[in-house]
């Protein structure tokens, strides 16, 4: 099978699976789950195969498919893999089966619809990452909202309606501004034969004026920043996470948030390099604020899910910091941190789900000494906690180390000419590792250590299924922590192109 065909299959497999799902009888929930697992595992296999076939060091896109879709508007169905979306696609495919496996016992009503939603989300998320045409990208970006909205709204907790409306409206608001910007862009681009074009390749070569760029970047950035989420646009996240069902939280934290950072990486900054350079101090400041503010908020929560939600704000601050360093260290670190956070936060949410299934409480005050009651659970929880803290040998360290080093590296030249604001920011970001340890270890201590206490007696430790899910996650976390080089080699070319596109403007190689 050719790789391009495999890529299309990868994208549409969930759709096929979803349709097949609908044909199954509702009362045979086991069949529904089984089919979903099979489909998503097949998707994972495809993704893994494509990852192995991906060639490092080759510039541009690989495994492309480009078919005209709406010729009059210059819209194409254009998907491909490159270093930027490769790992995110792999992450999405990896988390899919884990999400379904995790939901085996917790989702019991409307099982068919639920799994259909999961399929739909996989489809839209992969589409967003794979799209190389702006129109296509936007369609997938918006489409993702629907299944997420339903997932939170139907299977969520008590305040689910509030949470899902907040999530939907907040995100949609940003997207509308982005739509306006997209329409403007499409009209400005003229490809070789004089028709408007939405292809990324054409958009990169635009050469717009700085003012225009700034406005457009603002529109795009608003939408992406809400998704990341960056402070101060983050308040939808804690509510969404707390009220969402476990599977929803895992998908949200694992993949959805990365769509925002991916948007910056693939579109926001490279499309508007002059504006990006101007905006760098602002974004850097917001990133560091996110790191510290998120850490502070996580420290004073008593709802376990809220703690992890705010930790996401903090961790993704590192990603944003890495993206604006415009050097390989920071950018590669940001990419790794994206993947690492997806695994670690996803894992932590899965674990919260497991304990919630048993005890129906997310309140930290209800728990204590779980290391005694649930030893296997505690081991995995401790490992994921350490990964979240960024302990060396875990993926969290790889990401944070490279990002911080990159930030320092980028800030240093300015320091040699006098006081450097970026250096101050970089130093504050390093302080973030202390704050991160503070709230995570507080969580660990309250949950696992001290006097044994739980809302329900006779707790069962992890089942084989649960151990399998967590085991796979932990192995991935350590693998990226110990042997990240294989991943780094594959993403390096695209990271370099990103860097060059933006720095070319600064170093005067391109006339604007």
């Amino acid at each position: 099978m050719s790789e391009a065909l495999a890529l299309n299959l990868l994208l549409f497999l969930p759709v096929i699976g979803g349709v097949l799902l609908l044909a199954l009888p509702e009362r045979r929930a086991d069949l529904v789950r089984g089919l979903a697992m099979v489909v998503l595992l097949a998707q994972l296999a495809l993704a893994a195969w494509l990852y192995l076939r991906f060639q490092a060091g080759v510039p541009g896109l690989q495994f492309e498919t480009r078919l005209p879709w709406i010729p009059a508007w210059g819209v194409h169905y254009h998907i491909a893999l490159d270093g930027l979306n490769l790992l995110l696609v792999l992450l999405t495919a990896f988390l899919g089966p884990l999400v379904v496996a995790g939901a085996f016992t917790s989702i019991t009503k409307d099982v068919k619809l639920f799994h259909g939603m999961v399929m739909f989300i996989q489809f839209t998320m992969l589409g967003t990452f794979l799209a190389q045409d702006l129109f296509l990208f936007y369609v997938f970006w918006e489409a993702m909202l629907i299944p997420m909205f339903l997932m939170i709204g139907i299977w969520g907790g008590e305040r689910r309606i509030y949470a899902t409306l907040k999530f939907f409206l907040y995100t949609a608001f940003g997207s509308i501004l982005m739509l306006a910007a997209i329409i403007y862009l499409a009209h400005t681009v003229l490809s070789a034969d004089g028709t408007p074009s939405f292809a990324f390749a054409d958009l990169y070569e635009l050469g717009l004026g700085v003012q225009v760029q700034t406005l457009l970047l603002a529109a795009f950035a608003l939408s992406f920043a809400i998704k990341v989420p960056m402070v101060p646009l983050h308040t939808w996240l804690p509510d969404a996470h707390v009220e969402a069902p476990t599977a929803g939280s895992v998908i949200l934290a694992g993949v959805l948030l990365k769509m925002g950072t991916y948007g910056f990486l693939k579109l926001g900054f490279p499309l508007f390099p002059d504006a990006a350079l101007l905006a760098t101090p602002l974004i850097m400041t917001l990133a560091v604020i996110s790191i510290i503010y998120g850490a502070g908020l996580a420290l004073v929560q008593d709802d376990i899910k809220k703690i992890i939600a705010y930790s996401s704000v903090s961790h993704l601050g590192y990603v944003m910091l890495g993206l604006v360093t415009y050097n390989l260290l920071g950018v590669q670190g940001a990419i790794i941190q994206m993947v690492s956070h997806g695994l670690v936060a996803g894992g932590l949410f899965l674990m919260v789900g497991m304990i919630y299934e048993r005890c129906h409480s997310r309140d930290l005050a209800d728990y204590g000494g779980l290391a005694k009651l649930l030893p296997a659970y505690s081991v995995f929880f401790m490992i994921l906690t350490l990964a979240a803290i960024g302990l060396p040998t875990t993926s969290g360290f790889t990401g944070e180390f490279l990002v911080l080093l990159g930030a320092f590296h980028a800030a240093w030249p300015q320091f040699e000419q006098g006081v450097s604001y970026p250096l101050v920011l970089a130093s504050l970001a390093v302080l973030g590792i202390v704050l991160g340890a503070l709230y995570m270890l507080r969580l660990a201590r309250r949950l696992l250590f001290g006097e044994a206490r739980a809302p329900v007696a006779g707790l069962r430790d992890l089942s084989l299924r649960e151990m399998g899910i967590l085991g796979v996650l932990v192995v991935a976390v350590f693998y990226i922590g110990l042997f990240p080089n294989d991943f780094l080699q594959k993403t390096e070319q695209a990271a370099m192109e990103y860097q060059e596109r933006i720095l070319a403007v600064r170093d005067g190689e391109v006339e604007r």
Binding site: G296, L404, F408, V434, L448
Partner: protein, 626 residues
């Protein structure tokens, strides 16, 4: 012999995995074989590697294992490096480590988490070896954080006690603050030198290519990391609390090995510090201050382990003093001797606690010398060693430190020597105070405790004997000369041998004076000491309160941060400002809609009128503008 260093590092890791996964099921005998056998094997490998090193004339052995990351032109490799300095460290770590593993067989017998204990201990050994054998700062940092993790797990080993769990967390966080400084130092070096391989860094700095300001900044930042790990002011607060862990852990991690990582780091990066006199002076000052203040606190502690904890902090301060005046090899020498007698002291304390069924308060001890002779004898030897009585180990190493504190051409000063000597006096004083109150005089034990006093089992006492033996002879190894090719002694300000001999005599007198003073003050069960305590009650309270550093941190750092996070970030920021504006917008939309909805009256009549009006308006508009 390629792969030897890698093998050395991996042996304890294997022990961790095997005991961690299967130990519980396979029983204590199996755990012993794996958990103790592998460290012993590691020691054997370390000796073997050392012999290869010596056979090659001290030429460093380098093993590159794999490339961790290749980012652009930046290469991050995992490689191991064995020279005389790391060989000494590795031998201490595996040697003393193995001994403490043996001791633990006796001490932890019957504990329900026996396998977990040995697994964690092996994990620690793995990370510590990474730390001392790593060629680059990155590998060292992996080991650095890893031992912090092991320490966290072992301090909070009996985690069902909330205080113990809290102590573990405190250690980790305090270390982390130091680690932040370490990271910044690493970044600075990487950005200016271009590599993290320590041997290459030293060469770059020695070559004079790097400006002094950078060397100073890097030196200070790395030292911040060292203060965290080696419990110096201001990051020393975790060590006394770390005594919550099992006593062998205190001996291994918080006396002989992990806390010495900071010393090792500075010694290893001597190339940087030689070019940064300001940073070196800072190290010397902080080291000396820490040594002195910790000694004063040790004087009034009543928990046997806490006395030893503060003693460790104090001795580490001495080592930093040596580092600060350029006497790197001497600092390592003291590290070497200290490992033996401090481990002996801690394990001896463990033996006492074991004998007294958990009692740790020295006010409820006394008269134990005859009842637990082996413990008492070894403890006495170790006490004499730390006090600096010749010809025991501590005398040699401490004396060298004091000499260089005075005479070193790289920062030596009379005041360093003076305060150092005062601290040495205090050291002898509080150590012999400890010995007297615990082992001599009348028994102040509770009757039930006194009845069951028994000597410890052979795994424990044999180790005590071995360590005591080394506490005697360790000083006779001429370590500074051995390390001289790597870490030359600093030039002297004045090289009068007679001054040196005079100092030695003075030091011995100081030690004896401490011994005598201890006898006077505490010989009668501490009554004279208590009288003095009452006279200087306020001073006593400050000392007993450890200068209230913990309380200051709580007030100045922890509470404000929590307050800001709660009041400013959460309530003001998130709830009032951010969500508030959101909800405000929503309310606005709702109110607007409420106004507009009045058009929908539900009355057909009204609708008809509206249609008519609209139609008329459109017609007029068309008439006028089209």
């Amino acid at each position: 012999m390629n792969g030897l260093l890698t093998l050395l590092v991996l042996l304890p890791l294997a022990g961790f995995l095997v005991n961690g996964l299967f130990g519980r099921r396979l029983g204590p005998a199996f755990v012993n074989i794996v958990g103790v056998g592998l460290p012993l094997a590691a020691f054997a490998v370390a000796v073997w590697a050392w012999r290869i090193l010596e056979a090659g004339g001290g030429e460093p052995l380098i093993e590159t294992v794999f490339t961790w990351a290749l980012v652009g032109e930046h290469v991050f490799e995992v490689s191991f490096y064995l020279d005389r300095l790391s060989a000494v460290m590795a031998l201490i770590v595996t040697g003393v480590g193995a001994l403490i593993h043996i001791y633990s067989i006796g001490y932890m017998k019957g504990d329900e988490s026996y396998a977990r204990y040995f697994a964690y201990l092996n994990l620690f050994l793995f990370f510590m070896l990474l730390l001392v054998l790593g060629r680059s700062l990155l590998v060292l940092f992996v080991g650095w954080e890893g031992v912090g993790l092991a320490s966290y797990l072992l301090i909070g080993f009996w985690f069902q006690d909330v205080d113990k769990a809290r102590a573990g967390r405190k250690a980790f966080i305090t270390n982390r603050v130091g680690d932040a400084g370490f990271l910044l130092g690493m970044f600075l070096i990487f950005t200016t030198v271009g590599t993290l391989e320590m041997d290459q860094i030293n060469q770059a700095f020695a070559g004079g290519l790097i400006p002094v300001g950078i060397a100073t900044a890097a030196g200070i930042l790395l030292f911040i990391g060292a203060t965290g790990k080696s419990a110096q002011i201001p990051l020393h607060v975790w060590l006394p609390d770390a005594m919550a862990g099992p006593t062998p852990v205190s001996a291994l991690i918080h006396a002989a090995t992990m806390v010495t990582a900071g010393i090792y780091l500075v010694a290893r990066m001597s190339g940087v510090y030689l070019e940064a006199p300001a940073a070196s002076t800072l190290i010397a000052v902080i080291g000396l201050l820490t040594a002195f203040l910790a000694a004063t606190i040790a004087l009034v502690q009543t928990d046997i382990k806490k006395v030893l904890a503060y003693s460790t902090i104090s001795q580490l301060g001495f080592m930093f003093l040596a580092l600060g005046v350029g006497a790197y090899a001497v600092a390592v020498f003291h590290l070497f001797t200290h490992a033996f007698f401090k481990a002996a002291l801690f394990l001896g304390a463990g033996s006492v606690i074991h004998a007294l069924n958990g009692e740790q308060d020295i006010r409820r001890m006394g008269g134990l010398a005859h009842r637990i002779p082996w413990t008492s004898g070894t403890f006495l030897v170790a006490t004499a060693a730390i006090a600096g009585l010749p010809p025991l180990a501590g005398f040699f190493s401490k004396d060298e430190i004091l000499w260089f504190a005075l005479a070193s051409g790289q920062g030596g000063s009379f005041w360093f020597w003076l305060l150092g000597s005062v601290t040495a006096f205090l050291t002898a004083l509080y150590m012999f105070r400890l010995y007297w109150l615990v082992f001599l005089g009348r028994s102040r034990m509770a009757p039930e405790v006194a009845a069951h006093v028994h000597e410890s089992p052979w795994p424990m006492t044999s180790v005590l004997v071995v360590l005591a033996l080394f506490s005697v002879v360790a000083g006779w190894f001429a370590l500074p000369q051995y390390l001289a090719p790597l870490l030359p002694a600093p030039d002297l300000r004045f090289a009068w041998p007679i001054l040196h001999w005079g100092l030695i005599v003075f030091a011995v007198l100081v030690a004896v004076a401490g011994l005598v003073a201890a006898g006077v003050l505490y010989g009668d069960g501490g009554r004279r000491a208590e009288a003095i305590e009452r006279r200087f009650a306020r001073l006593y309270r400050v000392l007993a309160g450890k200068y209230f550093v913990d309380e200051i941190y709580e007030r100045l750092l922890q509470r404000p941060w929590r307050w800001i996070s709660d009041r400013v970030f959460l309530r003001l920021g998130d709830r009032i400002l951010l969500d508030g504006s959101l909800h405000g917008l929503a309310a606005l939309a709702r109110r607007g809609a409420g106004v507009l909805v009045r058009i929908e009256t539900g009355s057909l009549h009204w609708y008809a009128w509206m249609i008519l009006l609209g139609l008329v308006a459109v017609l007029i508009w068309v008439w006028r503008y089209v």
